[in-house]
């Protein structure tokens, strides 16, 4: 029995039997170009070539460049440095003036906002599992708008402002979510980093007060329709994982092996959570030998998915240009051996 990518993905993250473990590789624009050149395929054909199962669709908003080209402003008005391969918020518009009523908030009901998403769903929705891309959903959206230090001080000293800012963001995100669901996405995808390499960035108490109730609001429309919810959150988030499951999380990304122990994850959350990721972009992919890359894929599957389901195997983060092509080849060989 051969499954479509969509079917395989949907079944795997719902812990149902699959013909093989679904696979995914995400990458930065720079790395996409290197891989396209190396493998002789177009950038547009890379997802198919790499064996991807999931497509995340974004708002139809190209961003506006600063006059010198150094900063690209996103839909919310946050400016990101264009020289960087990672994400670096260079301009936080609420840093100096935190008047929430005066801020020109984006309009989630703007008519052409979901045109690209609609096109992707129409052309690829039969084969791929499609989610909207709600990266920087709440906490990260708040701190990139306000500035990291400012927002942390707000959280510690001004809960009224903190909650008001998070409420504004939640309202806008919620309207977008309803539009995406009407369009026909297959599930929710959220990204919000709560952890650093060693601990949560802020206390579970603060997370439960500020983030949890609002995140639950954003999960609800999917849950009401029986759809899965995938979420990316970096770093040490063990202390709030049970809370995330409680409000309806079904699939956790990136399960970075240096940070979240795979054995521990499986022991504590098997059957309750599916996993997405597992192969480290911090160690084995940039620095390992090809054989070690293959072993890391095997190890992640053995530990996270001994039931042969409940996993979308993938590099833990977007692959960057520091990963040698021979390791990309090894990753693909390991993927193909799953078939």
């Amino acid at each position: 029995m051969t499954m479509t990518r969509k079917e395989r993905m949907r079944r795997s993250i719902q812990h149902q039997p699959v013909d093989r473990i679904p696979t995914q590789i995400n990458y930065t624009a720079g790395m996409g170009q290197l891989m396209a050149d190396h493998f002789g395929v177009s950038v547009a054909d890379l997802p198919e070539f790499l064996g991807n199962h999931m497509i995340r669709v974004d708002l139809s908003h190209p961003g506006t460049l600063s006059a010198d080209g150094a900063v690209r402003f996103d839909w919310w008005g946050v400016g990101f440095d264009t020289k960087e391969e990672g994400y670096f918020a260079a301009v936080s518009p609420l840093k100096e003036n935190r008047d929430l009523d005066a801020y020109p908030w984006p309009d989630p009901l703007a008519p052409d906002l979901l045109n690209d998403a609609a096109h992707t769903i129409a052309t690829m929705g039969d084969d791929y599992f499609i989610t909207p891309n709600f990266g920087f959903v709440l906490f990260e959206r708040a701190w990139t708008l306000r500035g990291f230090e400012q927002f942390f001080v707000d959280m510690a000293r001004d809960s009224g402002f903190t909650e008001a800012l998070l409420d504004r963001i939640t309202d806008i995100q919620l309207q977008l979510i309803h539009r995406y669901i009407d369009l026909g996405v297959d599930g929710g995808y959220f990204g919000d980093d709560y952890g650093a390499q060693k601990n949560l960035l802020f206390s579970p108490r603060m997370w439960r007060r500020y983030i949890k109730p609002r995140l639950a609001k954003l999960f609800a429309p999917y849950i009401e329709r029986g759809m899965p919810i995938l979420m990316h959150s970096d770093g040490q988030i063990q202390k709030i994982l049970p809370d995330l499951v409680e409000i309806g999380l079904t699939t956790l990304n990136p399960v970075q092996p240096e940070v979240l122990d795979h054995q521990w994850l499986h022991e504590n959350f098997a059957g309750k959570l599916a996993f997405y990721g597992g192969v480290s972009t911090q160690t084995v992919l940039p620095y390992g030998k090809p054989a070690e890359v293959k072993a890391a894929v095997q190890q992640a599957i053995t530990t996270l998915a001994p039931e042969k389901t409940g996993l979308l195997i993938a590099p833990s983060h977007r692959m960057m240009t520091d990963i040698p092509m021979q390791n990309v080849e090894a990753l693909l060989e390991a993927y193909r051996a799953l078939a």
Partner: protein
């Protein structure tokens, strides 16, 4: 502990940014010498903040407001420290390495170093090796601290250390590095003197370099 210093110490630990300056003034008015206010009322408070962070009782917001409270108190204390000839415990030159724009971790380390009584020369982000070298020559620090968040910019740390060696300034300083993907093994491999996993450990490590 003298009651004035205890109140100041509590205010710093609790991140009472608005209260710290008046509590420093109250300690001065009570005739406590500036060096004692700094050491007992402030540096030791920040050491406790670091410990609370290590123990998982404090997180970044609590550490941040404590550092800001110390900073607001120091504004009042500084002229008195200068007047009575109190020197910083040491000097650190810090920066995020070339190619990397991330400064959150570096700024937290800076705050904790200042909290430990260091004078910190912050070179900012995307710092070229030559800029580190110039600053070492000018400021004569005991410690150089480098930060990187991305695996793609970690190699700049080695490039910077190699350039410092070639320029003949490496032997005069201790080099410590940090950032999410950085490990103790990597520090050893590129010839750094130490690695710190977080801002609190960075302050502790810098202190051991002075010993």
């Amino acid at each position: 502990m003298k009651p004035e210093l205890e109140r100041l110490s509590d205010a710093i630990i609790d991140g009472e940014v608005d209260d710290a300056p008046s509590l420093v003034q109250a300690a001065l008015d009570a005739g406590i010498v500036p060096s004692e206010i700094l050491q007992t009322g402030m540096i030791e408070a920040m050491t406790e903040v670091g410990q609370l962070f290590e123990d998982g009782d404090f997180f970044v917001p609590e550490m941040l407001v404590a550092a800001l409270a110390m900073k607001s108190g120091l504004k009042v204390l500084k002229p008195h420290l200068v007047e009575s000839g109190v020197e910083p415990v040491g000097t650190v030159v810090i920066g995020t390495v070339q190619g990397d724009m991330h400064d959150i971790g570096k700024n937290l380390v800076t705050m904790m170093l200042e909290g430990a009584g260091f004078k910190v020369i912050d070179l900012g982000v995307d710092v070229k090796p030559a800029t580190f070298i110039d600053s070492i020559r000018v400021n004569q620090p005991q410690v150089v601290a480098m930060s990187a968040l991305l695996t793609t910019t970690m190699p700049s740390m080695k490039v910077t250390i190699d350039a410092m060696r070639a320029a003949g300034v490496l032997d005069s300083v201790k080099v410590m590095i940090g950032g999410a993907p950085v490990t103790a093994e990597f520090a050893t491999a590129i010839g750094a003197d130490g690695f710190a996993a977080d801002a609190s450990q960075a302050a502790t490590l810098a202190q051991t370099f002075l010993a």
